[in-house]
Amino acid sequence: MRMKSAKWWTYHILVGGFSVLMLYPVVWLLMSSFKESHTIFTTAKSLIPHPWIWTNFTDGWKGIGGNSFGLFIKNTAVLVILTMIGQIISCSLIAFGFARLEFKGKAIWFGIMMVTLMLPNEVVMVPQYIIFSKLGWLNSMKPLVVPAYFGHPFFIFLLVQFIRTIPRELDEAATIDGCNTFNIFYRIILPLIKPALATTAIFSFYWTWDNLLGPVLYLNSPAKYTVSMALNMFLSTETVSNWGAMFAMSIVTLIPVFVIFFIFQRYVVEGISTSGLKG
């Protein structure tokens, strides 16, 4: 073993130190959630709680207005799963159509899709709200879930890019063997695009889990709230003194995001690097 050079040490102290500094706020949030509420700001200088307490988590878990935080997590999980299924089915079908099939007007529709990628959501927000309210869908998950079954431009683009890398010879061989178009999609392409589908599923989870604007618009009764709505309600209704419980529940909402990232890191990094998905 040779000694590491001074350059090596400088690099790692600089870059490592900077990354610790970046993440310090998150560590502070985590540590504060184990502190007694009234000491969080008086002891903000020291990271280590004294004493360590768990009551912030049990307090926070009780939730608000008789709805436990567990219920909010369950609501969000249902929303996430329904959205994810919708995105995967619809986006893979659409992407296959764009990447592999020839039809009149394909270029136009693909162009339209790329434009909607850049369209600010605010432009459709008000009319969508009106449409969903006329349909009687307010205070239900439908306005949040149903659009997911009609594709999302980012995921479609990601999948199209991925399918284009698969050699067409595979499709041709399958055609000769008597496969129809749907079977080529289902038996040949779908198994090969699993990594891109994983990226789609992960980002679909992140965006739905974090979404605040959608639930703020469409969910009115606290029993239907998602975790981000619940945190927002904590912030607006809790007395200033109960920071501990709010921090603890903030940490709880971040845990699934971290866990999924550390398990599926590769798909996340690849998804962003290849298609510019925003994290």
Binding site: Y11, F18, S19, M22, L23, P25, V26, L29, T42, A44, K45, S90, L93, I94, F96, G97, L101, F103, K104, K106, I112, T116, M118, L119, P120, E122, V123, V124, M125, V126, P127, Q128, S133, P147, F150, G151, T181, Y206, W207, D210, L212, L213, L217, S228, L231, N232, L235, F247, S250, T253, L254, V257, F261, V269, I272, S273, T274, L277, K278, G279
Partner: protein
């Protein structure tokens, strides 16, 4: 005499049948294609096109969801630009947020990406650590966290006190509050960094070797190789981040508890649009705001693309 005619007929018939077979095949191909993309087509019509047209119509009306829309011509637009100081304030705040936040974020992203573009084994770990803020940045939890570390007794002020810098009351001053939001956006440079890192990996090492043999220093290598080679990625990042920054909602909503305060200092465009549309139910006015936003974003994107021919370098066009 009769044989050629028969032949002609046969030829004609076969050409007709092959023509109709071809037509039928094309029809079938078209139907299959549209069957696959039909979710997008239906979704686009139902959730994008019809709403956009409705939005344009509503922007010329007075509408509160409960009574039918009332045509008022350009009133909403006139009111927005001449009688609504909060609108101007929110536009100003948003433009500062975008033009300060996006360049800072991209500069950070590029700097860190270049630091990480080495063969070190630890790069994978650092990459993940720097990406984490971007991953969780859109959540309510992080906005709550940010609100507290910038609080009067938060760690930022403790740090300032320690360094002898006068303590800032981040919530007492509209400018400071806006910068708090900008810092939050810069903190989330991770996803742009990943895109830059992928771009940097695509630049052949031999370019740098040749340049250093010719005696080009690091700075020249950066301006003459890295920046031009990376320019398409910079363009992509700039466009997407600008659009994204314009639509920022969650941090402003959470940090100001939905008010856009102090003194409208954090009243980002989306937040004001939301307030007009869904707190005051001025849906016509909110639609007009949305259309102006669309136009501003469109113009900004067009400007970025128009200038791109002076600074974006595409290798396939045989650049250098």
């Amino acid at each position: 005499m009769s044989t050629p005619i028969v032949n002609e007929n046969v030829q004609q018939r076969t050409s007709i049948t092959s023509e109709s077979i071809r037509k039928r095949r094309v029809l079938k191909e078209n139907l299959t294609g549209y069957a696959f993309i039909s979710p997008f087509v239906i979704g686009f019509l139902a959730f994008t096109l019809i709403p956009i047209i409705t939005s344009l119509y509503l922007s010329f009306t007075n509408y509160n969801l409960f009574s039918s829309p009332q045509w008022i011509g350009l009133q909403n637009y006139i009111k927005m630009f001449t009688q609504d100081p909060r609108y101007w304030k929110s536009l100003k705040v948003t433009l500062i947020y975008v033009f300060a936040g996006v360049p800072l974020r991209l500069a950070f992203a590029l700097l860190v990406a270049m630091l990480l573009n080495t063969a070190s084994k630890a790069v994978g770990l650092y990459r993940s650590l720097f990406y984490l803020p971007s991953l969780i940045g859109g959540s309510v939890a992080v906005s709550i966290m940010w609100r507290n570390i910038f609080g009067d007794q938060g760690i930022i002020n403790i740090l300032f006190h320690f360094l002898g810098i006068p303590v800032v009351r981040w919530f007492g001053n509209p400018t400071a509050a806006l910068w708090m939001l900008i810092f939050l956006s810069v903190w989330q440079f991770g996803s742009s960094m990943l895109i830059f890192l992928a771009g940097l990996k695509g630049i052949p090492k031999s370019y740098y070797e040749a340049a250093s043999m010719d005696g080009a220093n690091r700075w020249r290598q950066f301006t003459k190789i890295t920046l031009p080679m990376l320019s398409p990625v910079i363009l992509f990042n700039t466009v997407m981040q600008t659009i994204g920054a314009f639509m920022t909602f969650v941090p402003a909503f959470i940090i100001s508890k939905g008010t856009g305060g102090p003194m409208d200092g954090t009243l980002l465009y989306s937040l004001y649009l939301f307030t007009q549309g869904f707190s005051f139910f001025n849906m016509g006015y909110a639609s007009a705001m949305a259309w102006i936003m669309l136009i501003i974003v469109g113009i900004l994107t067009a400007i970025i693309f128009a200038t791109s021919k002076f600074w974006v370098h595409y290798e396939s066009e045989g650049g250098r």
